[in-house]
């Protein structure tokens, strides 16, 4: 009996959970909104890609969980998962036809239910198609699961690459048109998305890369390790120089829009690196970080703008003041929270952040800080008459800031202070017993982080030109915390990866913007469950986070 149940029970279990998720995804309108963007022009949209991918994933999970892992069982469970999902969707559609679901779920439109979910086929034929599609997905995934690992990896990554290329075509288009002959962009892209030929080419290209890497990769790696140290460091230097060159010429080769995106990502990298010191190095979860960002911006505004104080100094003069007040604020806000740990520290700092936002927003302080109308006409940076106006020029300012902050972070990490922070992070009591002065180290962490945030505030204020209290809400703090966690706590490349993923992607995929925080939330939860050390982790953190598992206490 148990044997017979194994034919379908995993499929149905995973299918039920999966269909709830898929129904939710449909009802929040994600599928509908994503269909506005084409992956392969006129053939498949991002929405349907998401739809299919979700179905494939559900069947894959069912296949994975099947025990005993016999091929027939795997395929049948996969089919059942697909079928269950399709059944739930059919039920949803039928319900939607008889009851006006839009009264409650605003996205349960006719378009969604009777067109998108059924791949464009109307009526009862659509329902039949959906059921068949579910089973077909299951069948396909079942066979796919049985393929050898290398084949699966190749197909998966190549597919992912093509989809990515199709989705990010706005990024690719200016790169291609600025740097390569038109023939290539015509081959790959149309005005909407990839061409079929383009998609296939990318697929084949990535497949070839992966296959050749798996054949040659080990050889190359051993060759690298075999090189004498001097040669290694020369290669490293060359690599760094090339990287720097690419970064420096990027805005001119990528176009205005991409420069703007890079500028915003850069600002968040700056902020992220600052918070990385507080959270990643010192282990103090600060949810009110946006307050220091605000202080930097407001000091800049007060000093350089003709409004309120009418000083009209240049932006460069504002920087030391902003840094000073930022660091001061960091220390001041750090003093009350010295004895708090963990959750309490997080909430207390969040409270501080909100208090500052409310004060800045209030009418009581309007004569000093502009109230809800903010402060405008902030000066742009000038050097000998040349004004840094557009995103391409501000980009260099941000890169300079980032490089400075990266350098400081990097040097701090392995310094005495950095090690004191690390000890504090792992166990405060033991650190204190070892003679580390908690007070000065914590205040140093807060101060440094605040200083970095203030610097970003200066650049932000100048870039935007006028600042409002609404831009300094807790969501910004949460954004920064998310991107640090996602990229890898305590790791400098992790912050950059996190910023690119969580800030850059929503800018590039406008459809994402609607669901940005939903994706953030899910990403956080999933990351914590699966890979708490982040995408590009730092070694010490990775060990810390998994030591529970090693000891067998997990």
């Amino acid at each position: 009996m148990e044997q017979i149940r194994a034919i379908w029970r995993y499929g149905i279990k995973v299918g039920i959970v999966g269909s709830i998720v898929l129904v939710l995804m449909a009802l929040i309108g994600m599928i509908e909104v994503f269909t506005q963007r084409q992956v392969i022009a006129d053939i498949i949209s991002m929405g349907h890609t998401l739809y299919l991918a979700a179905g494939l994933f559900i069947c894959y999970m069912a296949a994975r969980r099947t025990t005993p892992a016999k091929p027939l069982w795997i395929i049948s469970n996969s089919i059942f998962a697909g079928l269950t999902t399709a059944v739930f969707l059919v039920l949803l559609i039928i319900l939607g036809r008889n009851v006006n679901l839009r009264l409650m779920f605003i996205n349960a439109s006719d378009l969604l239910l009777n067109n998108l979910l059924t791949f464009g086929v109307q009526g009862n034929n659509g329902l039949r198609l959906l059921l068949i599609a579910g089973m077909a997905t299951g069948l396909f995934t079942g066979f796919f699961y049985l393929l050898p690992k290398i084949v699966r990896t190749v197909i998966l990554w190549s597919l992912a690459g093509s989809v990515f290329a199709g989705v990010l075509q706005e990024l690719i288009r200016p790169i291609l048109s600025n740097n390569f002959p038109d023939v290539i962009s015509e081959w790959l892209l149309t005005s909407d998305g990839l061409t079929m030929k383009g998609a296939l080419s990318i697929f084949i290209f990535i497949a070839l890369v992966i296959i050749s890497w798996s054949i040659k990769g080990e050889g190359i790696r051993q060759g690298w390790q075999g090189l004498p140290k001097k040669q290694q460091s020369t290669w490293r230097t060359i690599g760094t120089i090339i990287l720097l060159a690419v970064i420096l010429i990027a805005p001119w080769r990528l176009g205005l829009f991409m420069s703007e995106v890079l500028t915003i990502v850069g600002l968040y990298v700056l902020l992220g690196l600052g918070l990385n010191i507080v959270v990643g190095y010192a282990g103090l979860l600060d949810l009110g970080y946006v307050a220091f960002f605000a202080i930097g911006a407001y000091v800049t505004a007060l000093i350089t703008s003709p409004e309120i104080m009418n000083l009209n100094w240049s932006l460069w003069a504002a920087i030391p003041f902003a840094l000073f007040f930022g660091i001061l604020a960091g220390v001041l806000l750090g003093v009350p929270v010295l004895k708090m740990r963990g959750d309490y520290l997080a909430i207390a700092t969040m409270g501080f952040g909100e208090i500052i936002r409310l004060l800045v927003l209030s009418d009581a302080l309007r004569p000093f800080l502009g109230g809800s109308q903010g402060i405008g006409k902030i000066a742009k940076p000038q050097v000998l008459g040349f004004v840094f106006k557009g995103p391409q020029e501000i980009y260099y300012l941000i890169i300079a800031g980032c490089l400075l902050v990266i350098f400081v972070s990097w040097r701090l990490k392995d310094s005495r202070i950095g090690r004191a922070w690390k000890a504090m992070r792992e166990d405060e009591d033991v650190a204190q017993a070892m003679g580390i002065n908690l007070v000065s180290n914590k205040l140093l962490a807060f101060g440094t982080g605040a200083g970095f945030a203030a610097l970003s505030g200066v650049i932000f204020g100048s870039k935007i030109g006028s600042i409002y209290p609404h831009s300094f809400n807790i969501m910004v703090s949460i954004n920064i915390v998310c991107l640090i966690i996602f990229g890898g706590i305590g790791s400098i490349p992790g912050v950059i990866v996190g910023a690119a993923a969580l800030i850059g992607l929503p800018e590039l995929l406008r459809e994402f913007a609607e669901y940005r925080f939903l994706v953030y939330g899910i990403a956080l939860v999933v990351m914590m469950l699966i890979r708490p050390e982040g995408l590009w982790p730092e070694e010490a953190h990775k060990r810390e986070l998994h030591e529970g598992k090693a000891n067998g206490t997990k």
Binding site: L359, I478, G548
Partner: protein
């Protein structure tokens, strides 16, 4: 042998002195402000009474939500950031039931039955969400280092918030008005009290007392208390930890759902972000009363409600600050920060005083 005083004198650090200075400055500021306001006589006794009643009503709502925070903190030693979304989910979904009743005029003919149904729907939904939250997001991470469940909670909070936004939209949904709640009762000469306020205070008190009795008198309640005191010992005594923690979340969820309906009745609106700030305030209430301590949550809630309601007018108005009511939330956050700094154990509770790292 050093005396107690001498030892105490030695243990003071510079930071302590700074903090005392700040604390006393704040105290002077508040007392002076109150004196100025009262002397200026800008508010009549009737208005003060209104403030008090309003504060008590608000506070009861905070107290109900605070129970959820305090219970979960007791058993899991973590702040359930997503509790504010549990609070939101109940009345949000119950809104559609209420709207349906309103449209079909069942609301006018059978107000009490409709009300009870709305409460039941709301509490069911919020309980379900709290239960799922624990199962999916918190249970797998029970032994993880401190930071991880915290981040997960924040992530879960956002997921829920924006899930509801995606499903139901960004609009403010207006709760239908129950005719039995409009208007005021006259107590005695010149003194009126809003019917809705009375209902909120009584309903909240009812739920709180029920839950308190459940925790104190039943076996499951005893299990909850034992797990919050010492998880390992409780499991050695045969308490089913998983089930008990689920029950804890269920209780908290139910209370939050009820609180949500009351909140919606008072403020007449639901929207996807309505849980965020009341959630933080409810947490403040829980800490104020003493985290892990249920009567503390109730006391903390009422106290916070009063402070929030009386604060702007009593403390700030005397200084002639423009529009002090905008700073109402700031006062609540300030209370939070002050409690965490000066008395993290809270007013009543002294359990779980020092957080283990």
């Amino acid at each position: 042998m050093p005396t107690k005083f001498q030892r105490w004198k030695e243990s003071i650090t510079a930071t302590d002195i700074v903090m005392w200075f700040i604390g006393s400055a704040l105290l002077v500021f508040i007392i002076l402000g109150s004196i100025l306001t009262l002397r200026a006589g800008r508010y009549t006794p009737v208005q003060w009474f209104d403030f008090v009643i309003y504060g008590l009503a608000q506070g009861s709502i905070y107290a109900l939500v605070a129970m959820g925070y305090t219970l979960v903190y007791g058993v899991l030693r973590m702040i359930n950031f997503a509790h504010s979304e549990v609070f939101m989910s109940g009345p949000f979904t119950a809104y559609y039931v209420a709207a349906y009743f309103s449209r079909s005029s069942l609301l006018e003919s059978h107000p009490f039955i409709c009300l009870i149904i709305v409460f039941i729907v709301s509490m069911t939904v919020s309980t379900l969400i709290a239960f799922l939250l624990e199962r999916i997001a918190y249970r797998p991470l029970r032994n993880a280092p401190r930071l991880i469940p915290l981040i997960t909670a924040i992530g879960a909070s956002f997921t829920l918030m924006y899930l509801f936004r995606g499903l139901f939209g960004t609009g403010f949904q207006a709760y239908p008005v129950w005719a039995i709640f409009t208007g005021k009762w006259v107590l005695f000469k010149g003194l009126e009290i809003g019917k809705i306020q009375v209902f909120v205070i009584f309903a909240a008190a009812l739920v709180m007392i029920t839950l308190y009795l459940f925790i104190q008198r039943t076996r499951t309640g005893k299990a909850v208390r034992s797990v919050s005191e010492d998880k390992e010992a409780a499991s050695l005594m045969g308490v089913d930890i998983d089930k008990t923690i689920s029950v804890t979340f269920i209780i908290g969820g139910a209370a939050a759902g009820a609180a949500g309906v009351l909140y919606a009745l008072v403020f007449k609106q639901v929207f996807f972000m309505m849980g965020f700030i009341p959630g933080i305030k409810a947490f403040t209430a829980a800490v104020l009363g003493g985290i892990g301590n249920i009567p503390g949550a109730m006391l903390g809630g009422l106290l916070l409600g009063l402070l929030e309601s009386l604060g702007p007018s009593l403390f700030l108005d005397g200084y002639n600050i423009a529009a002090p009511y905008q700073l109402k939330d700031a006062i609540a956050f300030l209370v939070l920060v002050l409690v965490l700094i000066f008395r993290p154990t809270g007013l009543l509770g002294e359990r779980l005083a020092i957080k283990k790292a």
